[in-house]
């Protein structure tokens, strides 16, 4: 009876999800209510978790709860800490949820709401979640080894080195592009710049408090910090209203670039407790609060989605970024559906803290589903604004025109009516000087979020506060990724150079710290600078580059996972990781090829460089712009080279892996699995983690 009831309930959930997805896909004409998106996403996630993840857990990975995890075997209270599954889910989600699932879907809204929403749901269920889950499982079985170590052991020595190099290269592009999002969000915005600048002294204050006054009292310090941050968001209005202070905090793109580069260097070189860690605490609380509030806001306001399901820009002529729906919708969405970077977390901290193998399903697969849901909410927030406003905020002046009148006329000619006054009134309502040409996704998402929040609390009166709260939330946690990433990048540089010159590899050696920090900051700083001076807005070239890099890293992770499954003699279920691998390789190789060789100068890096070079030889470039144009040509060629290097690295790894697979399948080579030996758990079945009821020692069962 219970079984029949369960089947009926799951059938109802599946039918409801299918109905909601159908409504989203087929609906035309009147604006669609956002609730359809929420219902479709939630039902699909529930079904995917209940059925597909259970299948992967039972048949493919054969999770074994009787096997001791690294947290039990090496429990040291530091790295290896047995942690309750809900707490670890929170840790894991906080680590994987970055700006990507917010910015990517907002940019992909240029194609309309349908392609992005479908890929967010389907891509996560069959790609991203599977990658996170399987890599987490593989790392648990290998004492918490990293992706690079697993690639080295299971694929080949060269494969491991490539994976390590790919991580560093992709990290440089990631840091540059997220810094560019911050620059575009703060440019000419004294309110937002002041708010974000004030988070630095607040973090320093918390750092000193947590280090010297009340060591490790994170909760009380964070409550203090969040209160101060909310105060500076409100105080920003006074700064914006003051002619003197407004002038001080109105910064150009280049000034902001210099400020962010100096900040990145400081955060990397200063002691971690002083600036980086307290900012991270602040960011974690505000991130959790803002995402939860957005979900509640969408449920309460139930906004209408005004963007059409498909726009005319699926043909590749979009103003936000160039490229057709295939492959660029998938490249742009990136982290919301599949993220290669998650494999670093799944093979980093999480496997060292997991209590039982069985929890890997809930944590690995479940946390990625939640991240995908964040992406769907960002898509709803972006599509809930008038399409004309969306394109006005996200398009560069070189495409829509430099004046408000020209911009409104261009956007209206695309079939998305827009009056110049609409943008002026909106900018005034959110407390900004202008909202035109603010590419990067953050300002348009902030407008969408502010509209949802102000419809929940405060009405139009609080729109400007909510807008700047949303900008602060996005910029704060983007900078947290930036400073943490710069520091990790610094260690990678130290490790790589340390192979050639040993003293450089010592983590405590001050000249090494300063030099490696300067090297990593110079690398991402250069790409940031090129994005800021790019006449097409920077996002057009850097976001696809980041997306390609991220998806290629996911392909690397899935290649490693496929190799391990093959060695586990799971040939029958190999499609679980092989299908997403093949898809990602096709998508990223197509995107890489188009970004390098496409004859359109808006899409192809080389075509754009050639076009500019031709203009120079034809004398069409003024002498004053000559140096700038030559720099642009160099940057475009550099971008083409970076894309080619990404693609080449993955191709080498894929070839290595295929050779391995062939050797295993043809029995030319013995398949050696580098798993840790089986040790039975000594924990009682009801043990749920340190600090939860019974202490670890007390819960150990009889031998």
């Amino acid at each position: 009876m219970k079984r029949i009831f369960s089947i009926v309930v799951w059938l109802a959930v599946a039918l409801l999800g299918a109905g909601a997805l159908g409504a989203i896909a087929i609906h035309r004409g009147e604006p669609l209510n956002a609730m359809w998106f929420v219902i479709a996403a939630l039902c699909c996630y529930l079904v995917a978790f209940r059925l597909y993840s259970a299948f992967v857990a039972a048949k493919v990975l054969a999770l074994d709860d009787t096997r001791a995890t690294p947290a039990e075997r090496h429990d040291d209270g530091r790295d290896f800490v047995p942690t309750n599954k809900w707490v670890l889910f929170g840790h894991h989600f906080a680590a994987i949820a970055g700006p990507g699932p917010l910015v990517g879907p907002t940019l992909a809204a240029q194609f309309g709401y349908l392609p992005g929403t479908l890929w967010l749901i389907v891509g996560a269920a069959f790609g991203g979640c599977v990658q996170d889950f399987v890599i987490l499982f593989c790392s648990i079985r290998r004492d918490g080894k990293s992706l690079g170590q697993m690639a080295r052991e299971e694929v080949s020595e060269r494969g491991g080195f490539i994976a390590q190099l790919a991580v560093l290269a992709i990290m440089v592009i990631l840091l540059a592009v997220i810094a560019l999002v911050v620059v575009n969000a703060l440019k000419s915005s004294p309110w937002a710049t002041f708010t974000l600048a004030m988070t630095i002294p607040i973090a320093l204050l918390l750092g000193v408090y947590l280090r010297f006054v009340r060591p490790g009292r994170v909760l009380e310090a964070s409550i203090m910090g969040v209160a101060l941050v909310i105060f500076v968001v409100i105080a920003g209005q006074w700064v914006a209203d003051s002619p003197y202070w407004s002038n001080v905090f109105t910064l150009s793109g280049l000034s902001l670039t210099a400020a962010i580069i100096i900040y990145g260097f400081s955060a990397s070189a200063l002691p971690v407790w002083l600036l980086l860690a307290p900012r991270d605490y602040l960011s974690a609380f505000i991130k959790a609060g803002a995402i939860f509030s957005l979900a509640v806001g969408i449920l309460l306001v139930r906004p209408h989605v005004l963007m059409p399901p498909l726009t005319r820009f699926i043909d590749g002529t979009g103003p936000v970024f160039a490229g057709k729906i295939f492959p660029f919708c998938f490249i742009t969405i990136a982290c919301g559906a599949v993220s290669g970077f998650h494999s670093l977390i799944s093979s980093g901290t999480t496997p060292k803290m997991i209590l039982r193998e069985g929890h890997a399903r809930f944590i690995g697969y479940g946390a990625m589903l939640l991240e995908s849901f964040v992406g769907v909410m960002a898509m709803v927030a972006a599509c809930a604004m008038t399409p004309g406003v969306y394109f006005a905020i996200n398009s560069p002046p070189s495409i829509v025109g430099a004046t408000a009148d020209a911009g409104a006329a261009t956007i209206s000619s695309w079939g998305y009516p827009l009056q110049p006054e609409t943008m002026t009134n909106l900018a005034h309502a959110v407390g900004e000087i202008t909202l035109w040409n603010r590419a990067g996704g953050a300002p348009s998402l902030a407008v969408g979020m502010a509209q949802i929040f102000s419809n929940t609390i405060g009405g139009p009166r609080l729109l400007s506060i909510w807008y700047h709260f949303a900008i602060m939330f996005e910029a704060l946690f983007i900078l947290t990724v930036l400073d943490a990433g710069t520091r990790v990048g610094r260690f990678m540089v130290q490790e790589l150079v340390g192979r050639v010159w040993a003293p450089f590899g010592r983590r405590g050696w001050m000249p090494g710290i300063l030099l490696s920090s300067a090297m990593i900051v110079a690398m991402w700083g250069y790409f940031l600078y090129q994005g800021v001076i790019d006449p097409l807005g920077g996002i057009n070239s850097l976001w696809p580059l980041f997306g390609i890099g991220n998806q290629l890293l996911a392909a690397v992770a899935l290649v490693v996972a496929t190799t391990i499954l093959l060695k586990m003699k799971k040939l029958r279920w190999i499609w679980v990781t092989l299908v997403p691998t093949v898809w990602l390789v096709i998508v990223t190789m197509t995107a890489s090829y188009q970004k390098i060789f496409d004859p359109s100068s808006r899409l192809g890096f080389l075509a754009n460089a050639k076009d500019l070079a031709r203009q120079i030889t034809e004398g069409k470039i003024a002498a004053a712009n000559m140096a700038g144009t030559q720099r642009l040509i160099f940057n475009l060629r550099l971008d083409a080279a970076v894309t080619a290097i990404f693609a080449l690295m993955v191709l080498v790894l894929v070839v290595e892996a295929i050779f391995q697979w062939y050797s295993i399948l043809s029995r030319r080579r013995e398949s050696v699995l580098h798993e840790s030996p089986y040790i039975a758990t000594r924990w009682a079945p009801n043990f749920s983690g340190a600090g939860h009821g019974t202490a670890v020692g007390d819960a150990i069962g009889d031998d």
């Binding site: 429990d75 040291d76 209270g77 530091r78 790295d79 800490v81 942690t83 309750n84 809900w86 707490v87 929170g90 840790h91 906080a94 680590a95 994987i96 949820a97 970055g98 700006p99 990507g100 990293s146 991580v167 990631l174 947590l210 280090r211 010297f212 060591p215 490790g216 009292r217 994170v218 909760l219 971690v272 407790w273 980086l276 860690a277 991270d280 605490y281 974690a284 609380f285 990136a334 982290c335 993220s339 970077f341 998650h342 670093l344 977390i345 980093g348 901290t349 990724v481 943490a484 990433g485 520091r487 990790v488 260690f491 991220n550 340190a690 600090g691 939860h692 202490a695 670890v696 020692g697």
Partner: protein
């Protein structure tokens, strides 16, 4: 009614513990518990020493994603 109140109280207490563990507020307590299980393995760190040590470890590997 009393049963429901008891359950709520238990849930809130667990939630609070979990929340403190999630945000790192209870990290030192976890460390002390773990240290107690490995008597004599190494010197117990003070709260300030442990705080700095765990931060240095945490921020030396990828711990924030895109």
């Amino acid at each position: 009614m009393r049963k429901a109140a008891k359950r709520t109280k238990r849930f809130l207490r667990r939630f609070w513990r979990g929340f403190r563990e999630w945000c790192g507020d209870a990290a030192y307590e976890s460390y002390l518990r773990s240290n107690a299980r490995h008597v004599g393995s190494c010197r117990t760190l003070s709260p300030a020493e442990f705080y700095v040590e765990q931060l240095n470890r945490r921020y030396s590997r990828p711990n924030r994603c895109c």
